[in-house]
Subunit: 351 residues, 4 copies
């Protein structure tokens, strides 16, 4: 809808109406005490709002329809979308159903022994899905970039280790796809394809991954609002793939002076997102906090906020890990987290 | 400590050492491969760090000691502070002990009947402390500012209603002090004095309130980092008053595009703050969310994160409330919140 | 205006209309392809928008009128406000007119000699108004708080020094009022009353200061959006005092990882604010940057962005200053800044 | 350097020293009044700081060396980097030298006529480099994505139009590379390869683009701090390509309530970055503001802040543009911007 300025002239109003017609919609004019408001009847997606916002006499041009209709609860009746929570099947696991799903494993796959041992231990602790990074996004060009960085052959080998570890311990596996060139290779070995926070805006990657028709674990960028996060999930849905697991993992810290966590875990987004979409949402407390001593509390808080699962970095010997050692917990600690979270889930559901 | 630039000259290093000595400390020089670092031996509070940071050849001047020593766990051994969690007694209530404390009531006191009826109903629902605003901080000069705004006599009357309601239903009462001139009057009737988020930086108010020697409920500003929040709590402690209840209530939303909550509830700050200080911390989900449909989940999440209590706005008929109607829950909803939170508290404590 | 959800029922629409009528306005219903929008005819200030936003079937409730009508260019025709830029006279100085105004002086008044010498030197450098802090807001309770902090008599003496220095060198003086109790005393000696960034939300202080009928220098809080900044300036205007000088001084830094300035100077707000209000806006680069080596460029940038003046901290020997030494420039540096800024102002005005 | 907690035991200190040795560095212990600090002698890049930060007894582990040594002024003497401002030659244009460089053109290439006409007009207005998007990053999957989005052949054709337009009017051309798969094709036709803000963190793309040995226009992500921005520029430099043009284009808006610009242009970063690196930095006011009426002022402000150039979106008929119509200016407006900016550049340089 178009809000005119308090002093807009009739000519300016007429020009806006004419422009709306030019874009194939109908204008619905309503005059208030100071201001005229012009509603849009028709397909709002045809309207370039910033253009209208910059026309003479216009104060604001505001879209009133959701930019993520395909995954929206509100529009589901119009777009043949499910009205109930979507349940995503991966092997024997149902994500978004009845109980929280726990995704655990090392930050980076470092060796066959490492990933096999961690798989065994997280399975025992109660995990459902195995995670492990092959291609690691890093802030410094001088840091360890994951085995995948060295060459293509190493990447394939590491993927096989991960795949085998998952198979041996009966867990689907998830790993991050960092660029379009990696999609084919990773889709061969992984059950769930992860798009990391830094790649949330990479629409080519989103499209390429979506076309593999495998479930996608889609992380919110640390500079993205909720509306924008869902608008980019729409890129995946637009390819006909609605097996999208949303993941909150912290946004940029804000405020004068130091905070004591790496990112700001936006748990309020969890129940807010559940009102907007039928897709399941999980939380990654490991990257958000960046310190292992807060993982227990923040895992519990995530489930209490309504998260349908957690993604946690685990290592039998955190000090040894080559990447993100400070935020890893051990398998026994994971077991405690899972037990407490399951209890909290029951408390929440009982309401 | 002072970090010199990679190319700092010996003259520049000497000048820094000389300056350190001038401020009464001793310099401890340590040469690395590229850089020289100069440690400070003595009372760091005497050092103006930005001044040192701007000396020639200096890259950075970093304080290594905590700016909130009086309330710090780390420094407690040096400053005769308790090493255990502080428990704050208000009447029969012990805040920070054994079970979460629930502070509930209307956003604003509107009439004697209103506050009396809400007191009765929140008490029945399980609340421990009654809240109610007399002086309301508002964003628009044209909005209802609380009964206190009209004149001093109205304020006193409203305070008496609140006080009597608390007495009748055996609950201590808390209300916000918005300026120094209100301190004496409010301290006569309130058991806990609240400093609102917008006044967190108002050091004159902090000092005046602290001197009343009553417990202080101290809210984090929505633009303040954790370190800064604790540094301002130190203003209260510096008056010899350590009965400080910290309160997280959301920070400014960030990120491109819309979020769907009024503020960003920073629950990661809760366990992080508990590592730093022995003071109890509670959470106000009402102002953080600004919408009642998220209060249940975010209350549970707060307790799961480690909060020792909640502050929640309650009204028997939210639609009627003159201020913040959208975020109020009803007494029966409060009862559900309290039951679930108590259960979650038990789950957390069992670990 | 009220935007209904795509699936809102007729009952829900009717209830909203009924509520609008109850608040004394008229509803103007307009049906789109998916959504119904309900316009409000009448005085929008009577409407509690969050309340409407939480009614069943409502997606969003958006005010369409400006919350700062009294200082708004847009509404000036309806509210007898000037349609041209407001010019504020202080002694012989006209702020907002023909040339940028330069406010300079020490961060804190430290001694009579100090303020007298700085007054002389900044006057020679081209400054129009003398600044100097008596009551200093500080982050740490252990730092120097300004001479005013010690006792009332010291404050008065320091104010007299400032006043005399201004008189001797023919400059009006400005100093910060940090609390209501200081208003009377400071108004006796200062020509312009400053409300600091940390007190932007302190509506009692705003009202008390506004009533002195002296020009007010009003700083934006570092956590405030532009709309909120102007809404609080409206508190001053609501007292009949429109001699308000707005001041941008930086907002909280944001973004993952370190930035290299103390705050984020939001220069885009300068021309944006000039479109919204007829009040003059100036910029304080000293607090925003926190480092003297960026003051020259950022002063020039501020004037290029459209600022009608600058507020700069100056000391003949920055290293000696007790507060904010790192960001002070010397009088000769100030002279360079003023010359360059005047030239830039001419370039901008020539367009 | 490692800062130990105030109460750290000798065993904890010894363990840290042992760990430092294990990573091949030498520990330099210095004891203060409350705290022990352990310096690191050797190559700091070998140290996993978060790991050290999580060791028992450690308060903080802080890197003291710059993570972007290859492009750093400070380290230039050790890494054979130039100590003077880097000048980047593209055809006859020298970026970073003597006068600001103006990059102008349409947001998106829409037709051969459009790009040819705009090229002619921006050249006449004084532009040096022609810009035009082939692959457009967009927030909504339902918006126009650039001609490149349809198919590869369209992309190639649009690139040829851009290339020819540049050649006809004697301007090098720049266009955005949005994914690794586009690098080869675009490098054939473009003189400067642009990495957009959304891709700043895409290290695979950075590496692939860097290897083309053409100048790279590298935009800061809207969620990135300055240190992080420079750390990712280091990925390009690490491939031996130091022809990097940094570009500030606005960061996420922050603060309670509405701001009136699309992003927050961080002009303070401009002079701050010039202190850190010898690479040239330019500013894109078009995307930052999102509204054409602020472009003139913010262009001038950018040059006053020290920017060595501007990137501006221009269209002969902004209303017609398919993408970002609201922020485009016309060629005559560009001419005014360029004239004013050149004058301001002279004012700044004269100091």
């Amino acid at each position: 809808m178009i809000i005119m300025e308090a002093g807009a002239t009739q000519e300016e109003i007429n020009f806006v109406i004419q422009e709306i017609t030019r874009y194939g919609l109908r204008a619905d004019v309503s005059k208030g005490e100071y201001k005229t408001i012009i509603g849009l009847v028709g397909d709002e997606r045809k309207i370039p709002f910033p253009h209208f916002g910059s026309l003479p006499g216009v104060k604001e041009a505001i879209p009133v329809e959701t930019p993520y209709k395909l995954i929206s609860r509100e529009y589901s009746r119009f777009f043949e979308a499910p009205t109930e929570d979507r349940i995503i099947n991966v092997g024997k696991i149902n994500i978004g159903h009845n109980e929280p799903v726990y995704i655990a494993g090392p930050c980076a796959v470092e060796s066959q022994d490492q990933v096999m041992r961690i798989a065994e231990e997280v399975k025992k602790a109660g995990a459902h899905v195995l995670r492990g990074g092959i291609f690691k996004p890093r802030s410094s060009v001088h840091s360890f970039q994951g085995l995948g960085a060295k060459d293509w052959k190493n990447a394939e080998e590491a993927l096989k280790w991960l795949h085998t570890a998952g198979k041996n311990y009966d867990m689907p596996v998830v790993t991050e796809v960092r660029g379009e060139n990696q999609v084919d290779l990773i889709a061969e070995f992984a059950d769930i394809l992860q798009i990391g926070a830094r790649n949330m805006y990479d629409q080519d990657l989103l499209t390429a991954v979506a076309r593999k028709k495998k479930p996608v674990l889609f992380k919110r960028h640390f500079g993205a609002g909720v509306e924008e996060f869902l608008s980019f999930a729409e890129y995946i849905a637009a390819e006909g793939n609605k097996d999208i697991i949303l993941c909150e993992r912290g946004i940029v810290p804000v405020g004068k002076g130091k905070n004591y966590t790496r990112y700001n875990l936006d748990l309020g987004a969890v129940p807010a997102i559940k009102k907007e979409t039928f897709l399941p949402i999980i939380v990654d407390p490991s990257h958000a906090m960046g310190r292992r001593d807060l993982i227990f509390n923040m895992s519990c808080a995530a489930v209490a906020a309504g998260a349908m699962g957690l993604m946690i970095e685990v290592h039998y010997n955190p000090k040894e890990a080559l990447v993100d050692a400070a935020q890893m917990i051990t398998p026994p600690e994971l077991e405690k987290v899972i037990k407490a979270c399951n209890n909290i889930f029951d408390v929440i559901r009982a309401q």
